[in-house]
Symmetry: C2
Subunit: 315 residues, 2 copies
């Protein structure tokens, strides 16, 4: 922390659970200023080390996925890009992953609530233990980062949109430079939904959900709004996972969603067979460290979606 | 080559351009035997160092994507998995990438034929030069590997299917162990469509298409047919590309195909702006080294597809 000169700290009680451009800013920042955001986890602290799957049904749907903010950035106007440079995550060391009935890629197949609690090394240098012998490498990131929409009213925080939000992109991690299209004066930036680890897809619907502080710098690039968010990373994004290679399953057919489901179902079957896991365990593991990739999307009429599970988890 | 004891060489003239279980095997192999396949490129040698975009229209549609084989594997029966261990590629050093009108993820936006010819180091240790200063790291693999379908008749070689075929998965490279579900006695395995490099998605419809020899071992795993092909890799799959990180664009919305198109369009715009490329050049570069990934597929109703372009290409 010593290395960043902080202009503001945005406290965790300054959070909101929907996007609404009438929410008053919790702070004003100048371009180039560095801020610390205290982020709640996606259940707002609902789960503790004593929680069980029964507590999933007790989550308040109006309080899920809180984001800390919003921050008014001086000089940001519609048509600009808000540039957010992510410097550092300070993780809490506690996390949770849930199968929430009705939510997730295979919601039709997994109808029972399940909860896995994690404790992990706050430096994230050591993989987190899952069950008795699976070890999940960690890479903290912010699942949700976005700006207010031009349209008035309250917009659910669950779906991501052209202004960002709940994108759950696992590589919006330390070092990333995120560009968000600004739609209103001041942008009104908020961030939250921090994750200690997640694979591409977030297939069961949750990651290693975990409260963290985030240190970042805001800046404005005039006239640089893109149609959708974009970002850059300064270095490799997968080396924490790839040392031992992958098991890969596929789904092949004319619909990318069906192919995604087939690829993940295939991996759950494989992990259960190879490692004697329960299907629910395999599904949660796939969500926190497996990657959904589109191998080909041109050989009409059939596309290939592949699901990559890192072998290092079991080695 | 000295390290592999070859039971058979399957010559390039023993190829076919559709899947048909009545094609007579070119060889019989025992489980555990190692074979060398001479693979034509996806245009069957149509393009040479003197070819131009005008030659694209002269491709014979009945002769595209030839595969070498088929090989009858003793003991393979319906319900088994054919295990194919890929040892080595011997690339030709010549390749081509084309925009073929009517084909590719953005076929509506790219209607003119374009051809890029490549010459590259046959050891693939050096990146291949594209234009004046883009350098594409190479990793040879087989775009097409499959077995015959149970259904009689000729089936187009273009779409991949549950038995494999034209999967265009960039990581079915040296070291991969591929498992294909067997549908007829002897499996009737064929391979071809070798690529010197390709990103996930193969977005313009072609890779660095390049003739190569492939050395592999066939084996049979009794009763192990999976619903779709699967494979494993013994080590990292992306380190040839990732050293300098990525530029990443996104597409966000309720349809994975539309989101894929938006993400790739966004990257083409970005590459053109950053590097003064023509859009057709950017599209071809995206196809040979950019990766299409599904970042989240659970935050209903909107999914995020991200397109990752490796910065090392321009550094």
């Amino acid at each position: 922390m010593g290395k960043h000169r902080l202009a503001h700290t945005i406290h965790r009680h300054d959070h909101h659970c929907g996007w609404d451009n009438s929410i008053a800013p919790t702070a004003h920042a100048k371009p180039g200023e560095t801020l610390l955001f205290e982020c709640l986890d996606a259940a707002g602290g609902h789960f503790t080390g004593e929680s069980t799957a029964d507590d999933i049904a007790r989550m308040d749907p109006d309080k899920v996925n809180p984001v800390t903010g919003p921050v008014f950035v001086d000089g940001a106007e519609p048509g600009d890009a808000l540039k957010v440079t992510i410097h550092e995550f300070q993780p809490s060391g506690f996390g949770w992953t849930a199968i929430i009935p009705g939510f997730g890629l295979l919601a039709d197949q997994f109808t029972q609530a399940k909860l896995n609690l994690w404790t992990y090394d706050r430096t994230t240098a050591s993989p987190a233990l899952f069950g008795e012998y699976a070890r999940v490498p960690l890479k903290p990131f912010a699942g949700t980062a976005g700006v207010a929409l031009a349209e008035s009213g309250r917009h659910s925080v669950i779906p991501p949109r052209r202004v960002g939000g709940n994108m759950d992109i696992r590589d919006i991690a330390a070092g990333a430079e995120l560009y968000l299209p600004v739609e209103i004066e001041g942008a009104l930036f908020s961030i939250g939904d921090t994750h200690a680890a997640q694979g591409d897809g977030e297939v069961c619907g949750t990651a290693i959900e975990s409260a963290m502080n985030v240190v970042l710098t805001v800046d404005v690039v005039k006239g640089a709004a893109s149609r959708f968010p974009r970002f850059s990373t300064p270095g490799p994004v997968t080396r924490h996972l790839d040392a031992k290679g992958y098991e890969v399953t596929t789904g092949i057919g004319p619909d990318l969603m069906a192919a995604s489901r087939d690829a993940v179902s295939g991996m759950i079957d494989l992990l259960c067979a190879q490692h004697r896991l329960a299907p629910e365990e395999a599904y949660m593991l796939c969500s926190v460290c497996g990657d959904l990739r589109i191998s080909e999307v041109v050989d009409a009429p059939n596309w290939v979606v592949a699901f990559y599970f890192p072998r290092v988890v079991f080695e």
